[in-house]
Symmetry: C2
Subunit: 200 residues, 2 copies
């Protein structure tokens, strides 16, 4: 059997995921065939099936990668001194990602698929839990440093930040009047008043 | 031609919509046939088609009814003296409706269908605009009475309340740890701090 260079293999895997993301963002999961993903990736079906058994395995890998990226982001953010500033920076990033139509469409597809398919639902729920844990840790550490209101339960704070993230994606999908640059400032005001009322 | 009593006709229409809502909440739009809606309503297809030309017309009527109910709610709420209390009462209602699994499932189905079907998307967007206008009016009137911070643009306030409503429905769909009664109080704190920072 031919030995496959692990670096090459990882690059191929990323190439397939990028092609799948492009197809899914354009057409949605259910309107995309693995043949279309192969064409987009410039790869034969036989080759693609070395990496992913089926379309659902590709969707699952995209959701898992998303979770890993979020964790990597927070691992770095939690090293900073000003954790409240890190939270505001993360929410700016959420607004910018939501403003990317392809990213937005894919996120909404994943959310909808999570409601339809139990396995994807479990992966999406695991990402959600990991995000809330990261936000919870950030708020707890920030409270210990006097950067946010210590009387607010960090788990509750994390829940409403997660609700705001969900809401941002929905607003960007349905409300053409939602101006990202303007709303960045309103969101900063909201979070400042909510999380550090003495400073707001 | 037989003349139909308008009261009876309205009652029949409601009966069909209630049956459709029951089917859609259980199975989703795409897994529900008009035959199943007829069976649930105890009605023949011929009779149902006197009221609605097809399944999409039923979905559209459900979305339009939802919009009318929201407007009726705010028409009454805007007559009250304490508009901030009315807003908190509305958000309690949102949390309670979201806690009703059938209502939650139907709302998520409508949101997903609005992304897939342009006509349903337009109806859902019209409801969203009407809700934001009602919230905008409420906040503007409340600011004039000194009940909320007048320095916050009521349109921006309305946008973030709408984002929180979206977020509540998403949280209730994905986060089993989201406890409605507990989060009612956290949301009150969030809204009080955001909208009337002097009182929070």
């Amino acid at each position: 059997m031919r030995k496959i260079d692990p670096v090459k293999r990882a690059a191929r895997r990323q190439q397939i995921l990028a092609a799948a993301i492009a197809c899914f963002s354009r057409q949605g999961f259910h309107q995309t065939s693995t043949a279309q993903i192969c064409a987009e990736a410039g790869m034969s079906p036989g080759n693609l099936f070395h990496y992913f058994a089926n379309k659902k395995a590709i969707i699952a890998a995209i959701v898992e990668d998303e979770g890993r990226q979020t964790l990597a982001y927070f691992e770095k953010a939690l090293e900073a001194q000003d954790l409240f500033a890190q939270l505001l920076g993360f929410m700016d990033l959420v607004l910018e990602l939501g403003g990317d139509r392809a990213y937005l469409k894919l996120s909404l597809e994943i959310a909808a698929e999570g409601q339809r398919d139990a396995e994807i639902g479990l992966l999406a729920a695991a990402n959600d839990r990991a995000l809330q844990e990261a936000l919870n840790t950030l708020l707890r550490n920030a409270a210990a440093r006097g950067q946010v209101d210590a009387s607010l339960d960090p788990a509750d704070g994390a829940r409403w930040i997660a609700a705001l993230i969900d809401g941002i994606f929905n607003r960007l999908a349905v409300d053409p009047g939602f101006d990202i640059n303007r709303q960045k400032n309103v969101l900063k005001l909201l979070l400042t008043r909510f999380l550090r009322p003495a400073a707001g």
